[in-house]
C-alpha cells in the first residue's frame, strides 16, 4: 500500500509522485516547522478514539493471543500518551529543543545561538519483524519534526498504513510529512531515488538488509542503523535464587525468545560442566512450569523445526559432551564451549560455562551485537560484573524478568532515538 498526502495510491500514481518528489518536499520544507505539540495531540486523539476491539481482532488474526494483545494495547496507551511523549522529548532532546540557547563561548568574543532542529527528511527502511514498527519509526520522525518517507517491509500486514491514516485524520497537517511506498527491497532504482531526497536513512533489520543498503547509500548520507541484537543471562552462584530463575523463565516464555532483548541462553559463572548439567536439572522444571501456564500458539512448521533441531543436537552429543535436557514443551541444551549464539527459540535455551575472568575476552568479539543481559548475581557482585559487561559491548543489565520490558525515556540499543533524528545548529554573531 502506498500513502502520499493522506491518500492511498497505486503503483503508477506513485511513479508520478516520485518524478516530482524533490519539488514536493521543497514545498513542505518552505512552510513552517512541524510543532511536536501537534504530533502529541494527534497521538492523544488516536489513542482516545482507538477501537480496541478492532485491533484485538487484527492481532488475533496475526496469531497474538488475547492476554498478550491486551497487554500490548495498555503498553501502547502508556507509551504514546501525552505524558510519555513529553517526557521523552525532555529526556532525549534536553531543554534546547525548540528553545534556542545563546551564550558566549569561552575565550571568544562573539555570541553563539544554538538549537536542536530536525534533520529534514528521513527515509525509514522498516523491517517486518514487529507489527506496527514502521508506524512507530515514523512517529519518532514526526516528533522530531522531520518529513518521513517509509519503505514498507514485505510482510507488512497493513497495520502501519492504517495507523498512519488515523494520525492524519486526527491532524490533517501531518499528511505532508508522511510518505509510504511499497517498493520491494530489490527495487534498487526506486529506492535510490528515495535515498536521493533524504538527509538520513533509518534502517531496521538484520545484517543482509543493512549491508545491501550500505552498498547503495552514497557517502555522507547519514545511515542510522537499528540492527538485530542478541541478549542472554549471566548467572553466578549467589544469584541462583528461585525467584531469579523464575524471572528468566518468564522472559523465555513471554517473548518466545524472538526479540533482540529476549534471552537466548544462559552463561554460568563456572568452568565445571557438572555444574552446568546440575543447573539444567534445576532450571528445567522452572521453565516447564512457566510454559505450562501459558500455552504457546506455535504452528506445525515451527514445532517440526524445533523437533528436528533438538534431534540433531542430541546426535551432536556423540562428538562432544553437550547434552539435551528435554522438558514438556521446552528444553535446555548444555554445551561445553563458550560460544554466543541464537537458541532454537520457542522455549529452548542453551546453557554454557563462562567464568567471570573470561567474560570480557569471550564476549568482546560480539560487541556490535550485544544488547541486554539478565544478570542474576549477589548485590555485592553487581557493580563489578555490570562494568565488565558494559566493556564487552552490552548496553543494558537487568533482572531476568525485565529483559524485554522497557520504560518511558529508555535508551534504545544504548542511544536516544530522537537525538539521532535531529541535528544541533548554531548561529554566530559578533557582539
Amino acid at each position: 500500500m502506498n500513502l502520499v498526502h493522506g491518500e492511498i495510491l497505486d503503483a503508477k500514481e506513485c511513479d508520478n509522485v516520485l518524478d516530482h518528489l524533490e519539488q514536493d518536499i521543497l514545498t513542505t520544507l518552505s512552510k513552517g516547522r512541524l510543532d511536536p505539540q501537534l504530533v502529541i495531540a494527534a497521538c492523544d486523539k488516536v489513542l482516545n478514539n482507538l477501537d480496541e476491539a478492532d485491533y484485538m481482532r487484527t492481532m488475533n488474526e496475526l496469531g497474538i493471543n488475547e492476554s498478550l494483545s491486551r497487554s500490548y494495547i495498555s503498553e501502547a496507551r502508556q507509551m504514546f500518551g501525552k505524558e510519555s511523549l513529553l517526557h521523552r522529548l525532555a529526556v532525549e532532546l534536553g531543554d534546547t529543543y525548540g528553545n534556542p540557547v545563546t551564550f558566549q563561548p569561552i575565550f571568544k568574543e562573539f555570541s553563539v545561538t544554538q538549537q536542536t532542529l530536525p534533520l529534514g527528511v528521513l527515509l525509514h527502511i522498516a523491517a517486518g519483524n514487529a507489527d506496527g514498527l514502521p508506524a512507530f519509526s515514523i512517529l519518532e520522525g514526526l516528533l522530531t519534526g522531520n518529513i518521513n518517507i517509509l519503505k514498507l517491509p514485505a510482510a507488512e500486514g497493513g497495520i502501519s498504513v492504517r495507523l498512519l491514516l488515523e494520525f492524519i485524520k486526527a491532524e490533517p497537517l501531518l499528511a505532508d510529512y508522511i510518505y509510504v511506498f511499497d517498493y520491494t527491497s530489490k527495487d534498487v532504482e526506486h529506492i535510490e531515488k528515495l535515498i536521493s531526497v533524504a538527509d538520513a536513512v533509518v534502517v531496521w533489520g538484520g545484517k543482509e538488509a543493512v549491508s545491501a543498503l550500505r552498498r547503495i547509500i552514497p557517502p555522507n548520507t547519514k545511515l542510522i542503523e537499528w540492527g538485530h541484537k542478541i541478549s542472554f543471562a549471566y548467572v553466578t552462584d549467589l544469584g541462583m535464587t528461585t525467584g531469579g530463575l523464575e524471572g528468566l523463565a518468564k522472559n523465555i516464555v513471554e517473548t518466545g525468545q524472538l526479540l533482540c532483548s529476549s534471552l537466548q541462553g544462559i552463561f554460568l559463572d563456572t568452568n565445571d560442566m557438572d555444574k552446568v548439567y546440575e543447573f539444567c536439572r534445576r532450571f528445567l522444571p522452572v521453565l516447564d512450569q512457566a510454559i505450562s501456564l501459558r500455552s504457546q500458539d506455535i504452528g506445525m512448521g515451527i514445532k517440526s523445526q524445533v523437533a528436528l533441531k533438538l534431534y540433531a543436537e542430541e546426535l551432536e552429543g556423540i562428538y562432544s559432551n553437550s547434552r539435551v535436557f528435554r522438558g514438556g514443551s521446552c528444553s535446555l541444551i548444555a554445551y561445553p564451549d563458550k560460544t554466543l549464539d541464537t537458541s532454537i527459540q520457542f522455549g529452548n535455551a542453551w546453557v554454557r560455562p563462562l567464568p567471570r575472568a573470561e567474560l570480557l575476552s569471550t564476549l568482546r568479539p560480539y560487541k556490535n551485537y550485544l544488547q541486554t543481559v539478565g544478570l542474576l548475581c549477589g548485590q555485592s557482585e553487581l557493580p563489578l560484573l555490570s562494568d565488565i559487561l558494559f566493556k564487552t559491548g552490552v548496553v543494558r543489565v537487568c533482572p531476568g524478568e525485565n529483559m524485554s520490558l522497557t520504560y518511558c525515556g529508555a535508551p534504545h540499543d544504548g542511544e536516544y532515538p530522537l537525538r539521532r533524528y535531529t541535528k544541533t545548529v548554531n548561529i554566530e554573531q559578533d557582539y
Binding site: W204, I230, C260, S304, D341, T342, P365, Y369
Partner: protein, 375 residues
C-alpha cells in the same frame, strides 16, 4: 550379487509391492555395512538405542535412526576409505552450509542402474541425434556442485551433436552466455534436430524472457524436451508459476507443457524423482518415504510432517535414512489418477517460518564472528 545391486537393476521401477522383500534385505545389508564401516554411524545408532534385529518387516523401517540433513552439513561421514571415492558432489550451499557427497564404485553402479531404469521408464532415452542447451555451469574440474554433474550426465540420454552452456567456462571464471544460447537456438531450429534443455525452472524462465525480449520466436522440433531439475530447496524457493512457464515456452519455443518434465533429488539422497503426467513425484522401487510427526513418529497418508527418505543406494556414506528439513505429505498412488500405483509425495515447504518475526540476531550473523569474520 548384493541385494541392493539386484534392487537397482530391477526394471519395473514403480513395482513397490513385488520389491518390498528385496528392499528390506537391501536396507538391512546397507545398515549393517555402515554400522561396521562408519564408526560415527555406529555411535549414532547406539546413541538412539537402535538394534538391527528390531527391523523385521517393512513396517519397521522407521526404527532405523534417520540422520537429519542439518547434521550432515556439519559432519561428513564416510563408510569407505577415501581412496575408493570417485565422484564428489556438494550442495549448492544456498543456506551457507555445504553438504558433501561422494560415490564409491558400488554406489555408482547402483546410480547408473537407477538412471537407466528412470530414463527408460520415462521415455527419456532416444537414439535421435540431439542438440543440448544446458542452463547451468559448463563442467570443469574445479566445480563440484552436484547439479552440474547431473545436468551434464543427462546429455548422454540421447546422442549429443552440440552442447551450449548458460555459464561458460573461460578457464578461469564463468561468464553468462545468453548471446551464445540465442545464436545456438536459431541454428538448432534450422538443423531440424530435437533440442533438449536442462536446468532449474528459474533459469529456464529467465531464458524465455530474454528470448521474448529480443523478439525471438522459434518452432523447435516437436520431439524436443525440457528437463527441469532442482533440489527441494530451489524448487520451493523459486515459486515459478507453472502455467505461465508452460504458456511462455509454447509461445517462444513452440514447446508446451507436454514437452516439459521435472525431476529432482537431493545430495543427501541421490535418488532421481521424475514427475508423472499429472506432475506428481511417485516413489520408485529404489527408495521409501516416511512422514514423521513432531515426536518423530511415523504418520499415515494425508498427514503432513517431516520428510524422511530411505534408500540402500549408498555404500560410501551412511545416507541410508535421512531426514530433510522439508514438510511433506504422502498420498496413495491411486489418488493421482495417472495409473501409477506407487505412492507420491508433495513437498509443502521448509520447516520453520519463512517470515518469522524476530529481531534477535540470527545464527549466521553470529557464526561469522565465531569464525573470526567481519562483524
Amino acid at each position: 550379487m548384493s541385494y541392493a545391486r539386484k534392487l537397482f537393476c530391477y526394471r519395473k521401477i514403480y513395482d513397490l509391492e513385488n520389491t518390498n522383500e528385496l528392499f528390506l534385505h537391501a536396507i538391512l545389508e546397507n545398515v549393517r555395512h555402515h554400522m561396521d564401516n562408519c564408526p560415527e554411524y555406529a555411535k549414532i545408532v547406539a546413541h538412539c538405542d537402535f538394534a538391527i534385529e528390531e527391523v523385521k518387516t517393512m513396517d519397521d523401517l522407521y526404527k532405523i535412526p534417520p540422520i537429519p540433513t542439518v547434521f550432515l552439513k556439519n559432519h561428513t561421514l564416510y563408510s569407505v576409505s577415501p581412496k575408493h571415492l570417485m565422484l564428489k558432489s556438494t550442495t549448492s550451499g544456498t543456506s551457507g552450509k555445504v553438504s558433501e557427497m561422494a560415490l564409491d564404485w558400488p554406489s555408482s553402479l547402483r546410480g547408473i542402474g537407477m538412471i537407466k531404469g528412470m530414463f527408460f521408464t520415462n521415455k527419456l532415452i532416444s537414439p535421435r541425434l540431439t542438440n543440448y542447451v544446458v542452463l547451468g555451469y559448463q563442467p570443469a574440474r574445479r566445480n563440484k556442485i552436484g547439479a552440474v554433474k547431473t545436468a551434464y550426465a543427462t546429455t548422454y540420454a540421447a546422442p549429443a551433436v552440440h552442447r551450449v552452456y548458460a555459464l561458460k567456462d573461460t578457464g578461469t571464471e564463468y561468464v553468462l552466455n545468453i548471446e551464445g544460447i540465442k545464436k545456438a537456438l536459431i541454428r538448432y531450429e534450422k538443423s531440424g534436430l530435437p533440442v533438449r534443455f536442462m536446468g532449474f525452472p528459474a533459469y529456464f524462465m529467465f531464458l524465455l524472457k530474454e528470448l521474448s525480449d529480443s523478439g525471438i520466436k522459434l518452432t523447435l522440433h516437436p520431439k524436443s524436451l525440457i528437463l527441469l531439475a532442482g533440489g527441494w530447496k530451489q524448487f520451493l524457493a523459486e515459486k515459478v508459476d507453472k502455467p505461465t512457464l508452460y504458456a511462455m515456452s509454447k509461445e517462444v519455443l513452440g514447446l508446451g507443457g507436454d514437452r516439459i518434465r521435472e525431476f529432482f533429488g537431493a545430495v543427501e539422497h541421490p535418488i532421481a524423482y521424475f514427475d508423472c503426467p499429472n506432475h506428481h513425484f511417485h516413489v520408485p522401487v529404489y527408495s521409501r518415504v516416511i512422514i514423521r510427526d513432531v515426536n518423530l513418529q511415523p504418520v499415515g497418508y494425508g498427514v503432513p510432517g517431516l520428510l524422511n527418505l530411505i534408500t540402500p543406494m549408498m555404500t560410501s556414506m551412511p545416507f541410508v535414512s535421512v531426514m530433510t528439513d522439508d514438510l511433506a505429505v504422502l498420498h496413495p498412488g491411486e489418488e493421482c489418477g495417472c495409473g501409477n500405483r506407487s505412492p507420491y509425495f508433495e513437498i509443502l515447504g521448509r520447516v520453520g517460518l519463512a517470515d518469522i518475526k524476530t529481531c534477535a540476531a540470527n545464527a549466521s550473523e553470529l557464526l561469522d564472528i565465531k569464525k573470526g569474520g567481519s562483524t
